[in-house]
């Protein structure tokens, strides 16, 4: 039995997921919320984004179940000797991608390469020479790489891609069939409804994204077992693996740091807006002081202090991973404690508006206690602001992490993160020839995650803030020509050649 390791952020992430599930359950049984969320589900970009975000979340989750494997008993040890565990913790994801974790090279290698990127002294026919050595793992199965490589690549790509797409397609068919069965209509009608986007949930976008994603998975899976798909970094680690591992860091920072702002922001914001007077003055003073300090400096100061504290008590954690993880968690806390001012200000304003509303006055006229009013009438009616800000913050925090890591006050240097990948990329890009894959990997993954989060956040904002709906960019989908076109202002401001 391996020893299960519960890191602090693992626990936090699991609690967060449980909270998310509870929220979904709550939404399902609250008609008002359900209707609002339904308009998010109808938004095609948001649904594609949701698929991607779910995959990211799943990966982060797999990477958050840690354990320390049992070491094989040393020969000659007594049978009842205490079981010895590895000093390294592994996650389920590490276990799944064991080959990629352990298949390290000596140093840089380009994506899909079978030779090292840099020259090395190797023995050729018994004589020492400087050349590009073959990789230990990447393309090791090729006997005559010069001739086999391309064919192998194409063949594997095709097979992987086809397999992935096929899996995706069959999954899509299964979903449509299931839908048809649940709605008791025939398959072609269900298919038509999905294709014409007449469904309550944007299934077309979801399935499209899923098929493409599975295609990409198939392709990568086929190649990754024998190549380093995105090459290796300076110490020979697989870059794609690093990029996937970094997802967890990004997700943890984005979600936990947002979560950490909420208690302060909600409690202070509502108190200030509800009681006004000196309570308001005090809380305003607090958050003005906080927001007047440049945030990077404040975070830097806190992180430096955390570093001192962590160094002072080296016995608090058993493994290096736990130490790095503690720093990650504390970074989230710091981001939360220093970042609540904006949301607090918004909630204060919203509460000020709410307390003037008649239903709050009515509750007062009924002698409902202040706490009761805040709980029952104010809190539920400001939650949409919290939600909108929380989803918007997620992406900006993921971006912020990269900056902080660059400055040197981000995550522990041993924790894989996009910030540290960018940091490496900076020097790599000035090499000649350029080592570009670290940068591209970090860029690609980060863009996918942040863009998805932004698209999703946009849809959530539109759903929960009716004003935001007016700002949605619209393509002019009206029929050209005819009376109806002239009725709209667009004609006036369309580019000269554009209007019929």
């Amino acid at each position: 039995m391996p020893k299960i390791v519960l890191l602090a952020t693992d626990v936090a992430l699991l609690v967060l997921l449980a909270g998310l599930a509870a929220y979904v359950w709550h939404v399902r049984r609250t008609p008002g919320l359900r209707a609002t969320w339904r308009s998010v589900l109808r938004d095609a970009p948001a649904m594609s984004a949701l698929v991607l975000l779910s995959v990211c979340l799943l990966i982060a989750l797999l990477d958050s179940l840690h354990f320390r494997p049992l070491l094989p008993q040393a020969a000659g040890a007594a049978n009842d000797a205490a079981a010895a565990y590895s000093t390294r913790s592994y996650s389920v994801l590490d276990q799944l991608l064991k080959r990629q974790l352990e298949g390290t090279e000596k140093t840089y290698s380009a994506p899909l390469a079978y030779r090292q990127f840099t020259k090395d002294s190797i023995e050729i026919d018994g004589r020492a020479a400087r050349d590009y050595p073959r990789l230990v793992h990447g393309g090791a199965h090729l006997t005559d790489p010069e001739r086999q490589w391309l064919a192998d690549l194409v063949l594997r790509s095709a097979a992987g891609l086809a397999g992935g797409l096929l899996a995706g397609l069959s999954m899509a068919l299964a979903v449509v069939a299931l839908r048809a069965r649940m709605l008791r209509e025939d398959f072609s009608a269900a298919w038509r409804a999905v294709w014409r986007r007449e469904t309550e949930v944007q299934w077309r976008a979801i399935l499209f994204t899923a098929i493409l994603l599975l295609g990409a998975f198939g392709w990568i899976a086929a190649l990754w077992s024998v190549y380093h798909v995105l090459g290796t970094d300076r110490t020979g680690n697989d870059v794609l693996f690093q990029a996937i591992k970094s997802l967890r860091t990004a997700v943890v920072i984005g979600s936990l740091a947002t979560l950490a702002t909420l208690p302060f922001a909600i409690v202070f914001g509502i108190l200030a807006g509800y009681f006004k007077g000196w309570v308001d003055d005090l809380i305003q003073y607090l958050y003005t002081v906080l927001s007047s300090i440049p945030s990077v400096l404040l975070i830097a100061a806190c992180v430096l202090i955390i570093q001192v504290t962590i160094d002072k008590y080296p016995n608090l954690y058993e493994t290096g991973l736990e130490r790095a993880d503690l720093r990650l968690l504390l970074l989230c806390v710091v981001l939360g404690v220093t970042g609540w001012a904006t949301l607090c200000r918004l909630l204060r304003a919203e509460t000020l508006k709410l307390t003037e509303l008649d239903y709050v006055q009515a509750a007062r006229a009924f002698g409902v206690s202040d706490l009761g009013i805040m709980q029952r009438h104010v809190l539920p009616n400001v939650m949409h602001v919290v939600l909108i800000v929380a989803v918007l913050d997620f992406s900006s925090l993921v971006l912020y992490e990269a900056v902080l890591s660059y400055v040197g006050v981000g995550v522990d240097p041993t924790t894989p993160s996009y910030g540290s990948m960018f940091n490496l990329a900076r020097t790599e890009m000035s090499r000649d020839p350029t080592v570009w894959w670290n940068l591209v990997a970090a860029f690609g993954f980060m863009l996918t995650l942040v863009l998805s989060a932004n698209l999703f956040a946009g849809a959530v904002r539109e759903a929960f803030d009716p004003r935001a709906r007016a700002f949605r960019p619209r393509r002019d989908q009206r029929q050209p020509g005819g009376a109806r076109r002239h009725g709209s202002r667009e004609t006036a401001i369309a580019p000269a050649g554009g209007a019929p």
Partner: protein, 325 residues
């Protein structure tokens, strides 16, 4: 009006005192001078003597709040709190932990910081307003749609990426500008071109969307409908009515960040090797020089508060509803 501004300025001082107390607690009680010394000397085994020596060299050996060994006012002034915190109000920053005069460094570095930050800021505001106006003017056309899409993608890209790729493209590949560095005279333009452009581009997506929303919010209001009902052209409606109203929040938010430009940009300066306050701060963080970090926190807050007061002033000047009320 004068009393209003005076009141806001006094409030600013009050905030600054709060910041000062907060940083003092953070740097000297949560984190004791002993910890600082240990971190700075480094290594696992640090002797108590080394710590004491380090503290004496930098004046951290005094009591925090009250020096019982001195009499009268000296009992209060010959303390860490007075020397390290109260003195900041007189802009006496003291020496850094590595022994150099912080005030001198700051004065030396403000110039280069401004040289990057000012043009970046000015061009950025112009570019953003133009982009947002374009999107609003071509509302509900493909230009608007793709403009917004592009902006969302742009704001999803890390600024580090813009810098790295920009440096690689324009310096390494095309060799148009030097990759980093700083010099006076005409060379200044060569060194500044890339950081300024990248600084503008990196913020463009987010800000353009924000301004677009502001403009659209404004153009949904009743008085804009009145303006259209007058038979005014779309340009007149946009520039004379919408822009004029939306300019108020834009102006004041602009004024608010103006003083912060003195601090420069952390990342830009360190990537492009510009000897400004941003890179000074980063170096201090990396060297764990708490004295410099503390000084910069104070300076940053002070500038932020100046921005707050300027915002209030600009509001009273620009908005007739406040000016004449």
């Amino acid at each position: 009006m004068l009393s209003y501004i005076l009141r806001r300025a006094l409030y600013g001082v009050l905030i600054l005192i709060g910041v000062n107390l907060f940083t003092f607690v953070l740097f000297f009680t949560v984190n004791t001078p002993d910890d600082m010394a240990r971190l700075n000397i480094g290594g696992k085994r640090v002797t108590q003597e080394a710590i004491e020596k380090w503290k004496v060299e930098r004046g951290y050996d005094k009591p925090l709040l009250y020096n019982a060994r001195d009499d009268g006012l000296r009992a209060l002034s010959n303390t860490i709190f007075f020397e390290r915190s109260v003195q900041l109000f007189a802009l006496r920053f003291g020496a850094s932990d590595s022994g150099r005069d912080i005030g001198y460094e700051i004065r030396q570095r403000i110039g280069p910081s401004l040289a990057v930050a000012l043009p970046t800021f000015a061009l950025g505001v112009m570019a953003t307003v133009c982009a947002a106006l374009l999107m609003v003017f071509f509302r509900a056309t493909y230009l608007d749609f793709w403009g917004v899409t592009l902006a969302v993608v742009m704001m999803s890209i890390s600024s580090l990426f813009y810098i790295i790729v920009g440096q690689w493209t324009f310096s390494t590949l095309l060799r148009l500008v030097p990759i980093s560095g700083f010099a006076g005279g005409w060379d200044l333009f060569k060194f500044l071109a890339l950081p300024v452009v990248i600084g503008v581009v990196a913020r463009l997506g987010y800000d353009a969307l924000l301004y677009r929303t502001m403009f659209l919010e404004e153009s949904g209001k009743d008085y804009v409908r009145t303006a259209r009902a007058k038979g005014l052209s779309e340009q007149a409606v946009l520039f004379r009515h919408v822009l004029r109203n939306a300019a108020l929040p834009i102006l004041t938010s602009t004024v608010a960040v103006l003083p912060l430009l003195f601090l420069g940009s952390l990342i830009m300066e360190s990537f492009f090797g510009i000897p400004g306050l941003g890179s000074y701060t980063i170096d201090a963080i990396n060297a764990q020089d708490f004295a410099v970090v503390r000084a910069m926190v104070f300076l940053g807050s002070a500038l932020y508060i100046v921005g707050l007061v300027l915002t209030d002033i600009s509001y009273t000047v620009a908005d007739p509803r406040i000016r004449l009320a």
